[in-house]
Amino acid sequence: MTPDLASVLLYLVVLVVLAVPLGHFMARLYRGERTLLTPVLAPVETAIYSIAGIRAEESQSWRAYAFAVLAFNAAGFVFLYAMLRLQGFLPWNPAGLAPMAPDLAFNTAVSFVTNTNWQAYSGEVQLSYFSQMVGLTVQNFVSAATGMAVAVAVIRGFACRGEGRLGNFWTDLTRSVLYVLLPLATIGALILVGQGVVQTLSSHVTATTMEGTEQVIAQGPAASQIAIKQLGTNGGGFFGVNSAHPFENPTVLSNMLQGLYILLIPVAFCFTFGRMVGDRRQGIAIFAAMATMFVAGLAVVAWSEAAGNPMISQIAGTAGPNLEGKEMRFGATLSALWGTATTAASNGSVNAMHDSFMPLSGLVFLVNMMIGEVIFGGVGAGLYGMLLYVVLAVFLAGLMVGRTPEYLGKKIEAKEVSLAVLAFLSMPLGILVFAALSVAVPQALAAVQDAGPHGLSEVLYAYGSTTGNNGSAFAGFGAADPFHTTLQGIAMLLGRYAIIVPMLGIAGALAVKVPAAPTAGSFPTHGPLFVVLLIVTVVILGGLTFFPALALGPLAEQVSLAAGTRF
């Protein structure tokens, strides 16, 4: 076994070993059972409910739950937008940075409220420490908690026995922050500081180098934001270059910890699902489908990065990995692992520049995002996104055998399937239609940096990333243009709420149904056959929608590369 293969396998093993107990912990937490942290945190929780006037025991209908989600996110948006526009007048601005422009503030506020963390700005240049901490860090927590809450509500819709209620958004949100995100973020942040991630409120340091030139070194309270950016699949870096910056990700250990945090909660949610629906095998089946697609993508990326760029190897007279846009301490394999994890998980942080990855790697990243971020996906969002495909998969299976489709004993009928298709359509709308607009409008097209097929990949990536609520970028793309800040703001809203609301609708429709006992004719949804069916559904529905665009982008680029064509 090569060291590279061993490192990847060890990472995956540690990930699952940590995610299984976390998943079980979360199942207990959301069922309102006693957990390890209850004695410490229950008083805080009660105090929060009493100040906010929340009746914790009240279970909401799907409409009330959805209204609460939207009201909370709207309030978060307005608050963050106002802060970004006013940062020049607010404290903790040692570098004296000016307020953000309206379109950029809109884009940034939407980006953090929707758990996308697309960054059309550069943190060290355009954001005060106040905006980073009181604005962005808060949304890193609560946008993640929103996704977790929605996933839990959707699970309850599948799991409940006809009561018709999905739980309480405010308690799901509060518990996600208090019991899961805050403790793990605190541990992570302190380990990261120990590795050299900066955490200070002082301003830039000016160094005089050994050769006598001046080097201004940006600093800031980075560690606290980075821990939660990974944990909550947010991905918005403290610095513009994200976790490639040596102050954000200084060592291989900090890299592996952040890499684990990217996938930890999304993987754990598979096991939470199994527990909450009362059949652990159901969670394992979903995990198996996600893990299979993850490993397949990772294999392509790791291979193509290790093989390197043949044109550069020819110039240098040296065969070896693709190191353009990569840090020496991570090399090709750990960059490939990160790139696959961050695009699968809807995280969007990077430790290497995706724009400079090989074409087939870019293809995998694009596919991970375009299919709707369901390979583990965003915290919560990945699970409810995959449940959307589950609804479609059992529907297809039902058509094939001519029976009413069922999942977990509940009939999947016209209403559920219509809502699932509606939610599914937000991806092609946000990616294909908006990308087509960007290519057609000259002002928008000017944002493209690279000529040739890679230029199209840049546009597809920008809209795939924003609609998929991922947030990573082919960063050569000039995302700061007002056309794109505005359109991508809309894409992010679409990719978030045009999926959340229909999914809650599906959960609401299922919540009133009483599950039937399985019969000899029921299609089991926990075996390998179902796993294969689910993967095929994702690949056919997601893949075929986007194949023509991918053929003109990364696939054409791969062919050009083999032919030695330069653009």
């Binding site: 060291p3 061993a6 490192s7 929060i48 100040i51 906010a52 929340i54 309030a75 608050f79 901490m133 860090t137 808060v138 927590f141 609560v142 405010w170 922050v177 605190t186 302190l190 500081v193 900066v198 409120l201 002082s202 340091v205 160094a207 050994m210 050769e211 006598g212 201004v216 070194i217 940006a218 309270p221 560690a223 270059v241 490639a244 910056h245 040596p246 102050f247 890299n255 550069i312 110039i315 240098a316 007279g317 190191l323 353009e324 846009g325 840090e327 020496m328 430790n351 290497a352 520049m353 724009d355 400079s356 990855f357 090989m358 940096q449 000529a451 040739g452 082919f474 050009s560 330069r566």
Partner: protein, 190 residues
């Protein structure tokens, strides 16, 4: 309407206090007390002046020092960045050709280490590959009139990784290597 927005605003305010103020300030407090050097950027001082951070790459051009990888931002640590050029970009490939040519002129070696002709992700990469450092050791030794073996030993001391024997490639910290060279054979800047 108010019934929905009251909890929304109250929870937002409480979460802002908890996660936007208390959490980062508590982390800052613990970090500043328990790990002040690391929390403040792992800075290196010489005679009272900060000469840089061990984590942040800086540019070296004189022959008596090891040189870092190419940087898309000229090692501007106030605004990091990469080339972001795709693998078939003519601009990238022409730049790589120029760098390879310069390398061959400077070292007389025909095979160029790939990290010496490609720009890093941050533009602040503090490390180079061991192969890159070994070739540069010849130039550094010559410029300083130092035995090559001694310089190679300094490179080896500044080499770390793979972590746990498997994670990531071996790499050489340029600033550490140059500090060690200066300490052993003074007279680097011409």
């Amino acid at each position: 309407m108010l019934a929905i927005f009251r909890p929304a605003l109250a929870i937002l305010a409480l979460m802002t206090l908890l996660t936007g103020v208390a959490y980062p300030l508590a982390i800052t407090g613990v970090a500043q007390v328990a790990m002040p050097v690391r929390a403040n950027g792992s800075l290196i001082e010489q005679g009272g002046t900060v000469i840089g951070s061990v984590l942040i790459g800086q540019d070296f051009t004189s022959p008596g020092y090891f040189h870092p990888r190419p940087s898309a931002v000229g090692y501007d640590a106030a605004s990091a960045g990469a080339s972001n050029l795709g693998p078939t970009s003519a601009e990238l490939l022409v730049t790589v050709e120029e760098r390879a040519e310069a390398w061959r002129r400077e070292t007389g070696e025909s095979d160029v280490p790939l990290d010496a002709v490609t720009a890093s992700a941050s533009g602040l990469d503090p490390d180079i590959s061991p192969e890159n450092a070994r070739v540069q050791a010849v130039r550094v030794a010559e410029a300083r009139g130092a035995p090559r073996d001694e310089i190679v030993r300094i490179v080896e001391a500044a080499t770390t990784g793979p972590w746990l024997g498997i994670f990531g490639p071996a790499h050489v910290n340029v600033l550490e290597a140059n500090l060690a060279v200066d300490a052993a054979f003074p007279g680097g800047v011409e």
